[in-house]
């Protein structure tokens, strides 16, 4: 069991950090292990890199500070070598970083080059996407990463109850669809043909950060997008290609979509008004956002819906 939530503001940016936190906190009973956000701010000419240099669980220990400092210097040096001009690097928690860079090249070699550094995981790359995820409930992560200041036009979030893999940052959602800029996925469910799809996608050159079955959705969609398919078509294909139970949300710089498996085994409630679209595993999360009685509906099985932002 996990909880997922998504918001689209059609009338410009809003305090989406606070809004998603309220929604995710109301679904804490669906998963207290970790919380994650994929927030889309206004598109920038800069590329935003969110990365971690260690797992929160490994963060303490002899020589950790020196090791992190060394690896951080290595990140900067590698960014310079690959032709990226670093504008800012903020240290958010000691192990999690946010960098803005000027970079016009291909994102795949950039991500690969950084992840070659021991312990380094690129959480997201893009001109508007920022993935923030960590252990703990929604308010813990919200306070730790200062999400009260974060605004955006749309975003998705996730509270996790670990079932198929570890409680660690690598297994926390959302997942970035490496190496595609600004694509992120959150998932509620279990995928039973994970291993066969993982082997298939690895042979095609995709990399996996974790042992979490949900990561396959992000990587799968990335592969479909690479083949030139529109997002909605890629999502429709996923209904036939994945076995198991799932409801997932996917967001890009300009789109947000949902897909529900053929058994309708995982919940989703949807609210749509002229200026606001909100969706969550349970209606209680939508109520945490809007506060009053609103008209909502539950998508049926095999429904794929996308919205332009």
């Amino acid at each position: 069991m996990c909880g997922i939530a998504g918001i689209i503001h059609r009338d410009g940016a809003a305090r989406i950090g606070d809004e998603l936190t309220a929604m995710l906190n109301s679904m804490k009973h669906r998963g207290p292990d970790s919380t994650g956000y994929a927030i889309y701010g206004p598109a920038d000419e800069m590329v935003i890199v969110r990365f971690v240099l260690a797992e929160p669980n490994d963060f303490t220990g002899f020589g950790m500070d020196e090791k992190l400092e060394r690896n951080r210097a290595e990140v900067e040096s590698r960014l310079a070598k690959i032709g990226a001009e670093v504008a800012t690097i903020q240290n958010e928690t000691g192990y999690a970083f946010r960098a803005t860079i000027r970079y016009g090249g291909d994102l795949k070699p950039l991500a690969d080059y950084l992840e070659d550094i021991p312990g380094c995981k690129v959480l997201s790359l893009g001109s508007s996407l920022e993935i923030i995820k960590d252990l703990g409930d929604a308010y813990t992560v919200h306070d730790q990463y200062g999400l009260a200041k974060v605004s955006g036009t749309h975003g998705i979030g996730h509270v996790r109850m670990a079932t198929e893999s570890d409680v660690d940052l690598a297994s926390a959602h959302p997942y970035w669809a490496y190496p595609f800029a600004d694509v992120a996925v959150v998932h509620n469910g279990q995928l039973t043909n994970y291993h066969s799809w993982r082997r298939r996608l690895e042979r095609m050159g995709h990399r996996f950060q974790s042992e979490c079955d949900s990561e396959i959705i992000a990587v799968y969609l990335a592969q479909q997008l690479e083949n030139g398919l529109p997002l909605e078509t890629a999502m429709k294909h996923s209904l036939d290609d994945f076995d198991g139970v799932f409801t997932y949300l996917v967001a890009t710089g300009s789109e947000l979509g949902i897909a529900k498996d053929e058994m309708a085994a995982k919940p989703l409630v949807l609210m749509e008004t002229e200026n606001l679209v909100a969706m969550a595993s349970e209606e209680i999360a939508i109520r945490a956002l809007v506060g009053t009685e609103v008209e909502t509906r539950d998508p049926f099985e095999r429904e794929v819906l996308t919205w332009q932002v």
Partner: protein, 263 residues
């Protein structure tokens, strides 16, 4: 008991139990045999304790719960005849395990409405999530919107009336009782059902294993008309009837008396 306070105001004890040893909040406004509970600032457990207090101890027959705020498990386990009205939407598991109440919900509900209900009625003005009337044993459920997947899974009695459409595997492993669906039904209607009847007014995507069409009889028409009249649902559409084909569960290997036991 030492507890841990969280931002939501819910207290957990060291074992992770929510609100150990709670007391009814005594906030209901009672007027003769009617009462109003404002659920805004109350937790699920407090709302249910207050509801039980006024229904069992104060002898109130008509309770209105305002601002339920989609909280889960509201109005469960009421084993007395009374009238409950929700002004707004309760969340999941609403009015489960009830025996007697007549419930009106002026909103929508989440998953598993009226789970294992024994008798009484629940009328929902909006849509309902999946697993509506799971293991229903008696009484009537009326949902004026759509219902999700697996409505009446393991249903052992009672009637579920859906004015909208129904999702996948409606009536899955149903064992007795009736379902009336005015809209469409998705794939796997009546999958692996043992007994009971399903009436569908709209299109059927596909029938489940061992669910077969049957002839509408005068009794069926009388039954549907009676239920529509009780809940003031207007003129019923034309229905197709479905029942168990009785080839899946080795019916022929059982004596009639044993069969009754199994069901």
């Amino acid at each position: 008991m030492a507890g841990m306070n969280t931002k939501s105001g819910v207290v957990y004890d060291a074992r992770g139990l929510v609100e150990p040893d709670p007391e009814p909040p005594m906030t209901a406004v009672i007027d003769g045999d009617t009462a109003v509970i404002d659920a805004t600032d109350l937790t699920t457990r407090k709302i249910n304790l207050e509801l039980k207090r006024i229904v069992y101890d104060e002898g109130v027959n008509e309770v209105t719960i305002v601002n339920p705020g989609s909280k889960h498990s509201l109005g469960v386990g009421i084993l007395k005849r009374c009238k409950l009205t929700f002004e707004g939407s309760p969340g999941w598991y609403a009015c489960g395990l009830i025996d007697g109440p007549e419930v009106q919900i002026n909103g929508r509900v989440g998953w598993a409405l009226g789970e294992n209900m024994m008798s009484g009625s629940i009328v929902v003005e909006g849509p309902s999530g999946s697993l509506t009337g799971a293991a229903l044993r008696g009484g009537d459920l009326v949902i004026k919107g759509n219902v999700g997947a697996r409505t009446g899974i393991d249903q052992k009695g009672g009637t579920i009336i859906t004015m909208g459409s129904a999702g996948i595997n409606t009536g899955f492993m149903m064992q007795r009782g009736h379902q009336i669906i005015c809209g469409d039904a998705n794939d796997g209607l009546g999958d692996s059902m043992y007994d009971g009847f399903i009436y569908v007014g709209g299109k059927i995507a596909s029938l489940g294993v061992d669910c077969v069409p049957a002839e509408m009889t005068d009794e069926d028409h009388e039954f549907i008309n009676r239920k529509f009249a009780i809940y003031d649902l207007g003129t019923p559409p034309d229905f197709n009837k479905f029942e168990c084909g009785k080839v899946l569960h080795n019916y022929d290997a059982l004596e009639p008396s044993e069969r009754k036991l199994v069901l």
